[in-house]
């Protein structure tokens, strides 16, 4: 077996287990040291992953594991995201009795997201979704003594368990129809006349993956998790599984010829619904963390635009990857700011933040403007690439709706930024400091850097391909 092809995953898995055991043998005060271990293992995995970039794109492990540009870049993104989330954690969980196990859980969740990005077999897809979900519930409910966190975990669990079951049923249907769970085999078998059963099966699978993407119709957990989960965990859950799920979805739908299974209208509809519902939900929010959750849903809608265009335009996958990278950096910066502010979430509490903490206020501005897509930030390049790709693929109406949604989104981002700069400060603004602060500025630098250094990155991503 070509063990070398999954070395990054193995290293993440082994270090997760080692961290878990180490946490149970260490004193609670020393658990922050495990964060260093987690960062080291993530770095090692990233190096191993980057080494695969030079190799030709191929399917390994009897066709269940795709090693192509899309999966490698997505996994690098996930590893970087996880590293920033690890750095956000030590101060936040310092008094938690189970501090050390958090890192093990985070690494396992990252592993699930990585498996999603490389899945080229329906069984592999199910495994990846389940691993990433089961660890996600734990992360969301990590503040066991805080009711909202438990509630977020429970709601996440209920939506997740339901959609995971739908996913399994969908996989069963596809397996029953085509006699194989392998993407390449299904692609061979799926020919000829339109098949209604295949469409139903695919729809169920798409709903299962949409849960990880926080897309309609499985989006309801996202606002609750982003409000109730510990902010470092929310930062992770709003970003990392999405990266994996977007690539997994793109890889999944392209195996079906569009004339056998009409998946393009399906994904386009989901894209429109997701971005619109996300934006409408965010409009009236007076809770910043909840607002970020809704905005994260609408960002998933934009990502789905690229999935619609996959196969029609060679630039779709690079555009998707770039958009995901820019989104990850901006969203991480926003949640890092919330973490740094010790999780303050009420919009009224953000009044006058700019006078007390100008640095954090600036970070909020950068991240929100990047989420809207204002040049020269990373989000601008990502969205531009998405819109151009979608229009060239013949889905101009989709791009128009996305532009309208983007303009609407400006309103609620400004509703936060307005009080930050023009409100009156009441009371002191305590911050977390330490590692969280470094992670905050790193994410912000990445947001700006992705915009300024877009060109070399883009030409690198342009060579990316998607198997099978």
């Amino acid at each position: 077996m070509p063990i070398g092809d999954v070395l990054p995953e193995i290293s993440v898995l082994v270090s997760a287990v080692v961290l878990l055991l180490a946490a149970s043998f260490m004193r609670q005060q020393d658990h922050w040291r495990l964060a260093i271990g987690a960062l080291a293992s993530l770095f090692a995995a990233a190096v191993l992953c980057a080494l695969q970039l030079g190799e030709p794109a191929r399917l390994t492990f009897a066709g269940v594991w795709a090693l192509d540009g899309a999966s490698i870049w997505a996994r690098l993104l996930i590893l970087a995201t996880t590293a920033i989330c690890v750095a956000l954690t030590p101060e936040w969980l310092r008094s938690d009795r189970r501090h050390g196990e958090y890192y093990a859980m985070l690494l396992l969740a990252a592993l699930g997201a990585m498996l999603l990005a490389g899945a080229a077999d329906l069984l592999q897809l199910v495994m990846a979704v389940l691993l990433s979900s089961v660890t996600g519930y734990t992360l969301a409910a990590y503040h066991r003594a805080w009711p909202l966190s438990v509630e977020a975990g429970m709601k996440y669990f209920l939506v997740g368990a339901l959609t995971n079951t739908l996913l399994m049923i969908g996989v069963t249907l596809l397996f029953g129809l085509f006699g194989s769970t392998d993407y390449a085999q299904i692609a061979k078998a799926a020919t000829g006349a339109p098949q209604i059963m295949a469409l139903i099966g695919l729809t169920l699978v798409v709903v299962g993956v949409a849960f990880k993407l926080a897309a309609v119709p499985a989006h309801t957990w996202m606002p609750d998790v982003s409000e109730g989960a510990p902010p470092p965990a929310a930062a992770f859950l709003t970003v990392a599984p999405k990266i994996g799920a977007a690539i997994a979805l793109a890889r999944l739908v392209t195996i079906f010829p569009a004339d056998v299974v009409a998946w393009r209208p399906l994904v386009a509809t989901l894209a429109v619904a997701t971005m619109t519902i996300g934006n409408l939900g965010a409009l009236g929010q007076s809770d910043v963390r909840r607002l970020l959750g809704w905005s994260s849903i609408s960002q998933s809608g934009y990502a789905l635009m690229a999935v619609t265009a996959v196969g029609l335009n060679a630039q779709a996958i690079p555009a998707l990857l770039f958009f995901l990278g820019a989104y990850a950096a901006a969203n991480l910066a926003a949640f890092a700011a919330v973490t740094q502010l010790r999780g303050r979430t009420n919009l009224a509490d953000y009044r006058g933040l700019a006078t007390a903490r100008p640095g954090i206020a600036a970070v909020l501005v950068v991240s929100f403007l990047s989420l809207v897509g204002i040049p020269p930030l990373g989000g601008f390049v990502g969205k531009l690439a998405l819109f151009v790709t979608t229009i060239e693929a013949g889905y101009a109406w989709l791009a128009v709706i996305a532009v309208i949604n983007t303009v609407v989104s400006l309103v609620y981002y400004l509703r936060v930024l307005g009080p930050v700069y023009f409100g009156d400060l009441d009371g002191p603004v305590p911050v977390l400091g330490g590692w969280a602060q470094k992670a905050l500025y790193l994410a912000t630098l990445l947001t700006i850097g992705l915009g300024i250094l877009a060109e070399p990155l883009w030409s690198e991503l342009g060579r990316v391909m998607l198997l099978p």
Binding site: L20, L21, Q29
Partner: protein, 150 residues
């Protein structure tokens, strides 16, 4: 084989089982009805003819600790299924399969060690003496110049 014949072949044990199960229940209930004594007096219908009358509900709460043990049992129990699927084809899988099996067992052991270490397997609350010692220790720690950076 004819489909109809096949069906009778498949189904008769089921019918036999059903008849046997129903028959057993009927025999047990019927025999005790016929042979058992009857008490029609009022006292005889009370739960205990002598002693104390029952108080309170039967639905008492019991420690959630047992759920934890049960959950861990279910999780480890299910892993046997994987060992089964290895066992039935152990000969064909050869040494590679054996190594995979050992790796699997090793992973299970790691999980077990973790569950043990964090005290998930402690059936009862810790011994009172240990609790006292812990209390003394934590008091001492609290009185020391604070080690914790806060």
């Amino acid at each position: 084989m004819e489909p109809a014949v096949q069906h009778t072949v498949v189904i008769w044990p089921l019918i036999l089982f059903l008849v046997a199960a129903l028959g057993l229940v009927t025999v047990m209930l019927g025999l005790s009805y016929v042979l058992g004594g009857r008490h029609d007096n009022r006292l005889g219908n009370q739960p205990y003819e002598s002693g104390i009358k029952p108080t309170g509900s039967a639905r008492t709460k019991f420690s959630a600790k047992f759920y934890l043990v049960a959950i861990i049992f279910v999780l480890f129990d299910l892993e046997i299924v994987f060992i089964f699927s290895w066992a039935i084809s152990a000969r064909d899988l050869g040494w590679v399969g054996y190594e995979a099996f050992l790796t699997f067992l090793f992973d299970l052991t790691l999980g077990f060690a973790y569950a043990w270490k964090i005290g998930a397997l402690d059936w009862s609350p810790r011994a009172p003496r240990q609790l006292r010692l812990d209390a003394i220790e934590s008091n001492q720690q609290r009185n020391l110049p604070s080690e914790q950076t806060s």
